[in-house]
Amino acid sequence: MHSNPSPRRQARPKSTFLAAKTPTSTSPSNITSSNNPPPESTILFLYTNRPSVILGRNQNPYVEINLDLLRASNLKPDLVRRRSGGGTVFHDEGNVNYSVICPTKSFHRDKHAEMVVRALQKLNVEGVRVNERHDIVADRPHAIMPLKVSGSAYKLTRLRSLHHGTCLLNSSNLQLIGSMLKSPGKKYIEARGVESVSSPITNVDVQNEEFENAVVEEFGEMYESVEPIVVGEKEGEIPEIAEGMGVLKSDDWVYGETPQFTVNVFVEHPFKKVDGKMLKFSICLTARHGAITKIDASFEPSKVFEENATSIANLGEKLVGKKIHEIYGRGWEILLCRVLGPATKPDQELVVAAAMQLQEVLGTRDPEFRGFR
């Protein structure tokens, strides 16, 4: 936000260093709020999560994530929406995440990414640098393009700013990350908000503890009197921290904070014709805050549409206000067939096919029903 002189020339402000060992989706904002640090302090927080997929503040889970794959995965990742901006990431025990909370006056987007780059260089990781997207990439001689090792995200408030980033050290799930962060529904959705920019990734092949020590050392070079506090699972039991962690994983926050989006599905009957024209069915729904605000359905040819106009008109009445993430498994099929009642008689296959497409787009296939596991 502001240009900033080299930290070494400044009087070095007091700082705190927090380290967390494998808490469940701990967020730095939760930990630090309980300590009420003075506004002029700078805090480094290093943490490692169990497998988790973390959405940016203003993202759409249906666009970003293969929700069915996530739910079916043996890793059983947590799904979290963070408070900072940016794109979706996956963490596991092979990541160490860094987070720096500092006064907004001295905030600069690259400042602490550069700190991490210096730490990696000291660990003899070659070719690492901060790119124009404020991410850390590694230029590898054999790769056609730079490989991402760390992504940045920020939360800005008047007095305090937060910068955090992942760092891929030795994750054994690189393949999985790619498929989990690829939504089958993306092409059916038009969404407001922020879409991730996917990049090829790599590990830097450093052990977690080596990385933590190197980052703390660099942080100590920038700020004086580093006071380490080690945070563990126990701190997660502090009521206000437990509450904060619960919010970030709650459905109302993860799904309910989704920016407005529209889903379009369209199915054509493979052989059935009416008046010599192929029978078609389409649904268009809009959701705000994770709940349906508008839903339209249409049959082609128009004769079929007109015959079913009343039941189609009912659709909005029955479905507006419903939370999308609560329509689970065969829910779409049941809802559509029930509301469209008479329409489903001649064209049931078509309505069911559209419902199944919605299930796939919205990642609500229920493994119980579909034998998906």
Partner: protein, 172 residues
């Protein structure tokens, strides 16, 4: 200034009717006078330390709020703006919206206590509009919301900075 001049005319005409000594016509004009003096102070555009602005219209009861030129520049390219469902009553400092720019999430807070009566829907469809004219309250501008203020809101204005004070604040 133009808005003050506009306000002057009806007041002046009411003064003229006073000479006809009709009590009935004096009453509304005394109300008009009070409104005039209150709105003169309120009509100055004010800024918060959070980089929001508020400007009341000539009526002293309605106005616009938005984020400052400085904030829009500091945030960088805005890619998403979320605004509240209206009408909604808010206190000074309450979050009324969210902005994302260059991977950074930040909140828009209400500069004063007020009722948000309308939001700039253009920002939800074309978020970049806020970068082009954050202090523009025209239909194509980057203003955030239309508001209605009561006495509390008018009082909140006193604690805010005028353009000159704000300029000094950001140059600090």
């Amino acid at each position: 200034m133009a808005s003050i001049a506009r306000k002057l005319r009806p007041v002046a005409s009411r003064f003229a009717t006073r000479s006809s000594a009709s009590a009935a016509s004096w009453r509304p004009s005394s109300f008009g006078l009070r409104a005039f003096s209150a709105s003169r102070a309120a009509q100055v555009k004010k800024y918060t330390k959070d980089h929001e602005w508020v400007e009341l219209s000539a009526d002293g009861k309605t106005g616009h709020i938005g984020i400052s030129e400085y904030a829009a520049h500091a945030l960088g390219d805005v890619v998403y703006v979320e605004l509240p469902t209206v009408p909604i009553e808010v206190a000074a400092g309450d979050s009324i919206g969210a902005v994302e720019s260059v991977k950074s999430a930040s909140d828009i807070n209400s500069p004063i206590s007020c009722t948000i009566t309308a939001v700039n829907e253009l920002l939800e469809e074309a978020p970049g509009t806020i970068n082009k004219g954050p202090e523009d309250d025209s239909s194509a501008g980057g203003w955030v919301a239309k508001v209605e203020v009561a006495e509390v809101g008018i009082k909140d204005l006193e604690g805010l900075m005028d353009a000159e004070e704000y300029k000094e604040f950001v140059e600090e």
